[in-house]
C-alpha cells in the first residue's frame, strides 16, 4: 500500500504528456482506479495509461460539446430571414410611449404585419444619439435641435418621420430670490450647455429684448444627472435651466420661481422620431416597412393615450413605469407637453409656415454655437428639406428631411 502511495506522490516523468502531472493531484482517483481494476492487472504503467486515457476522453468530450454549441450559436443568425431594425429611445415624457409599445406587444404586432423584426432599445439620451450617428441603430427619438447637431451635421442624412410633440412648458428657467431674466447678466446660470436648455435661455433673453446681454451671463455646464441636487443644495447659485421632471423637483423647494419656459416658445422644441435616410431608401423596401410599422404603432398608442377613462389610466401607468414615475407625475409632465395625438395634428404642425421660421431659429442657434461643425463655414451647409419640397440651405447639402408621408398614411388609415 505504501508503495502505491509513493508512486502517486510524485508526478511520473513520462515525457510528452502534461496530463500526467495531474497524477500528483489525483492520487486518490488513481488509487481508486487501481483498486477498481481488479487483481489481474496490477502493474504501474497500465494504470497511468488508463489515467491518461480517461483524462483525454474527458477533454475530448468537452471539446466536442463546445464545438457543437459554437456551431449552433453561429448558425442561429443564419436561420433568421427577417430584416431587423432597432429604434432607440431615452426617458422623456414624449418618448416613454416606446416602452409601452414594446411591453404591450404593439410594436411586435406591427412588425409582424410588415414581415420585419423591430427591436426597441432604451438608452441614456446622449448615448442614443451616439448610437444613431454611429449607425448602430436605425431610428431614434430626439429633439429637432439634436437632429440638426448630431446626425445631420455629422453628415448622416436623417429623416424625421414622426413629429410627436413639442415642449409646452417642459423646459424652464428657474430662479430663486425673485431673480428675473434682466438680473441674470453677471450671474452664474446652471444648465447643460449646448442643448435645448441653452436654446431656451437664449430665446428667453431675446424675447425680452436682452439679446445683447446673453454673453454676460456666466454659464456653468452641469450634467443633467446632478443639476437638481447641485442647484438645490448650493444656494449661492441663483438660476438654473433644465427640463421636467428635474424642474418639478426643483420647483418644490421654497422661493423658486419659473421665469421663462417653453410654453412661451411653442413649436420650437420639437420631439421627433427620426430614421436614417439610407435605411428608408433601401432597395428591398424594408426600410419603408420599418417606417410604416413605427408610425402605425405610434399612432395606435397615441389613440390609446388620448382617451378618457380607466383604460387610458392603465396605459398611462404602464408608460410611466418606463421611467419609474407615478401616474400623477407622468400626467403632470404630460400637461406641459403638447402631444400630437392624431396624425392630423402632426401634419398640421409640420406643414405650417411657422415650422420653417422656427426651424430657422433653431438652425441659427446651432450655427452660432458651432454645433453644426467647426468647419461649417455657412449656415446653409446643413440644409433642411420640408414636406412641400422647399429647402433651407444649399440644395446639394440636404441632411435633414421632414417626411410627412407616413403621418399622411396614418391619417388616411392606410397603414
Amino acid at each position: 500500500m505504501c508503495a502505491i502511495g509513493k508512486v502517486y506522490a510524485h508526478p511520473p516523468t513520462l515525457p510528452g504528456s502534461s496530463e500526467l502531472y495531474y497524477g500528483q493531484l489525483s492520487a486518490h482517483v488513481a488509487r481508486w482506479c487501481f483498486e477498481a481494476s481488479g487483481p489481474g492487472r496490477r502493474t504501474v504503467v497500465p494504470i497511468l495509461m488508463r489515467q491518461v486515457r480517461s483524462k483525454t476522453k474527458v477533454y475530448r468530450s468537452i471539446a466536442f460539446a463546445a464545438g457543437v454549441l459554437a456551431l449552433l450559436v453561429a448558425a442561429a443568425p443564419l436561420s433568421a430571414d427577417k430584416p431587423t431594425f432597432t429604434v432607440g429611445w431615452s426617458v422623456y415624457v414624449g418618448w416613454n410611449p416606446y416602452y409601452f409599445m414594446n411591453k404591450s406587444g404593439i410594436m411586435k404586432k406591427w412588425a409582424d404585419k410588415y414581415g420585419i423584426a423591430i427591436k426597441v432599445q432604451r438608452f441614456d439620451y446622449a448615448p442614443s444619439l451616439d448610437a444613431f450617428v454611429a449607425k448602430n441603430i436605425e431610428a431614434c427619438a430626439m429633439t429637432n435641435m439634436e437632429a440638426l447637431d448630431m446626425p445631420a451635421a455629422a453628415g448622416v442624412d436623417t429623416t424625421a418621420i414622426i413629429v410627436g410633440d413639442y415642449s409646452n412648458g417642459n423646459d424652464a428657467v428657474l430662479t430663486r430670490n425673485g431673480v428675473k431674466l434682466k438680473d441674470l447678466p453677471g450671474k452664474k446660470l446652471l444648465l447643460v450647455e449646448k442643448t435645448v436648455s441653452q436654446y431656451l435661455f437664449e430665446r428667453g433673453m431675446a424675447l425680452n429684448g436682452l439679446e445683447s446681454q446673453i454673453k454676460q451671463v456666466r454659464l456653468v455646464n452641469t450634467s443633467d444627472s446632478d443639476i437638481a441636487a447641485a442647484f438645490i443644495s448650493d444656494t449661492s447659485h441663483q438660476a438654473v435651466v433644465t427640463w421636467k421632471p428635474l424642474v418639478s423637483q426643483i420647483s418644490k423647494q421654497p422661493g423658486i420661481t419659473n421665469i421663462f419656459n417653453s410654453s412661451q416658445i411653442p413649436g420650437e422644441i420639437l420631439d421627433l422620431t427620426v430614421v436614417r435616410t439610407d435605411v428608408l431608401n433601401r432597395a428591398d423596401g424594408s426600410g419603408q416597412k420599418f417606417a410604416k410599422a413605427l408610425a402605425g404603432a405610434w399612432y395606435e398608442t397615441m389613440a390609446l393615450m388620448s382617451g378618457k377613462g380607466p383604460g387610458t389610466d392603465k396605459v398611462l401607468t404602464t408608460i410611466a413605469e418606463g421611467s419609474q414615475d407615478s401616474l400623477e407625475s407622468y400626467k403632470e409632465q404630460l400637461s406641459t407637453t403638447h402631444l400630437m395625438y392624431t396624425p392630423k395634428d402632426a401634419l398640421e404642425l409640420t406643414t405650417s409656415p411657422e415650422m420653417k421660421q422656427k426651424m430657422t431659429l433653431v438652425k441659427q442657434f446651432c450655427f452660432n454655437h458651432a454645433l453644426l461643425g467647426e468647419n461649417t463655414k455657412s449656415i446653409d451647409d446643413v440644409a433642411i428639406r420640408y414636406p412641400d419640397g422647399g429647402v433651407q440651405g444649399k440644395a446639394d447639402r440636404v441632411r435633414l428631411r421632414f417626411e410627412t408621408a407616413y403621418m399622411q398614411m396614418a391619417a388616411q388609415g392606410k397603414l
Binding site: 448622416v156 456653468v220 441636487a229 467647426e374
Partner: protein
C-alpha cells in the same frame, strides 16, 4: 527564438522595433478606419482624418472659447498671445490649478499617515475610521458634497481630496509600519525625542517611497478632477471635452486627450527626477 524564454536577451534593434510596434499598429488602424469612413461620408466627425485633427489642434490652441466669434483685435495679436488666450491654454491653466491644489493637500495626508503609524494613540484613533472612509466612493455621495462645499472650485478640490487622500494615508501608514523597530530604538538611544524620531528618522526614510506612492496616485487624482469638471464647471480640460461631446467634436477631443496624457507624463517624470535628486541613497525603482 522563443518568445517564452525567460533568459532571452533581446537585441537593440528588437527592443526598438517591438516597443514601437503597438503604437504604429494603432496609428495605422486608426487612419485606415478614418479613410474608410470618410469615403462613405465626407462629413464624418466620429473618426477625424489627419487634416481634421490638424485643424482641431490649431483651433484648440489658437482660438478662444468655441462660442465666441473671433474678435477684431485677435488679428493683431502674435501667435504667442493667441495661444495664451486660446482654449487649450486657458483650460490647462484652470485644470492645473485644481490639480496642484489637490496635490498640495496630499502632504498633510502623508503627515497624518506618519503619525498614525508611529504614535499608537493616533493610530487607534484614526485607523478604523480611515479604513472605512476609504471604501466610500466619492462620486456616489455627490449631493452631500454639493451641500457641504457648493459646486465651485472648493468642491472640485475636495472631491479630489476625498477620493485620493485615504489611499495616501493608508499607504504612508503601511510604509511607516514597515520601518524596522531597531531604527526607532536607535533613534531613542541617540537622544532623540519622539518628535525627532518621527520626523528625522522615520519620515526621512520613507519619503522616497511616499513620493512614489503619490506618483502612482496621479492618475486617480486626474480622474477625480475630470469627474468634478464634467459634473459642473465653467472651464477646464474635462469641461471642454464634455462640451465637445455634445456635437461630436472628436477632432478636438482626441488632441485634448493626448495633451492630458502628455501633461501627466511630464508631471510623473518631474516627480521621478525630483525623487532621484533628493534621495540618491534610495535604490529601488
Amino acid at each position: 527564438m522563443s518568445l517564452l524564454n525567460i533568459c532571452a536577451k533581446p537585441s537593440r534593434a528588437a527592443t526598438w522595433t517591438l516597443s514601437w510596434l503597438l503604437f504604429a499598429t494603432g496609428i495605422v488602424m486608426y487612419f485606415y478606419t478614418a479613410q474608410k469612413r470618410h469615403k462613405e461620408n465626407p462629413d464624418d466627425r466620429v473618426v477625424p482624418t489627419l487634416s481634421q485633427l490638424a485643424s482641431g489642434i490649431y483651433q484648440a490652441a489658437m482660438s478662444q472659447d468655441g462660442d465666441d466669434q473671433p474678435s477684431a483685435d485677435a488679428q493683431g495679436q502674435s501667435a504667442f498671445e493667441r495661444f495664451r488666450h486660446g482654449m487649450l491654454w486657458t483650460d490647462t491653466v484652470a485644470s492645473s490649478r485644481r490639480f496642484f491644489y489637490g496635490l498640495a493637500l496630499l502632504f498633510p495626508a502623508v503627515l497624518l499617515g506618519l503619525h498614525m503609524g508611529i504614535f499608537p494613540y493616533f493610530g487607534i484613533f484614526f485607523l478604523r475610521f480611515i479604513l472605512f472612509f476609504d471604501k466610500i466612493i466619492a462620486l456616489s455621495v455627490l449631493p452631500i458634497l454639493f451641500i457641504a462645499f457648493g459646486i465651485d472650485e472648493l468642491s472640485k478640490v475636495m472631491l479630489i481630496v476625498i477620493g485620493v487622500t485615504p489611499t495616501i494615508i493608508l499607504d504612508t501608514f503601511n510604509l511607516t509600519k514597515g520601518v524596522p523597530p531597531e531604527q526607532l530604538v536607535k533613534g531613542f538611544t541617540l537622544g532623540a525625542s519622539d518628535f525627532d524620531v518621527a520626523y528625522r528618522v522615520v519620515l526621512k526614510q520613507i519619503w522616497p517611497r511616499v513620493l512614489n506612492s503619490i506618483r502612482l496616485n496621479l492618475k486617480p487624482l486626474m480622474l477625480f478632477l475630470f469627474a468634478g469638471e464634467m459634473i459642473a464647471s465653467t472651464d477646464g480640460l474635462a469641461y471642454r471635452i464634455a462640451l465637445l461631446r455634445r456635437h461630436m467634436g472628436m477632432n478636438i477631443i482626441i488632441p485634448y486627450v493626448l495633451w492630458v496624457a502628455l501633461l501627466l507624463f511630464l508631471v510623473d517624470l518631474a516627480m521621478r527626477l525630483l525623487n532621484k535628486k533628493l534621495h540618491p541613497w534610495f535604490r529601488e525603482a
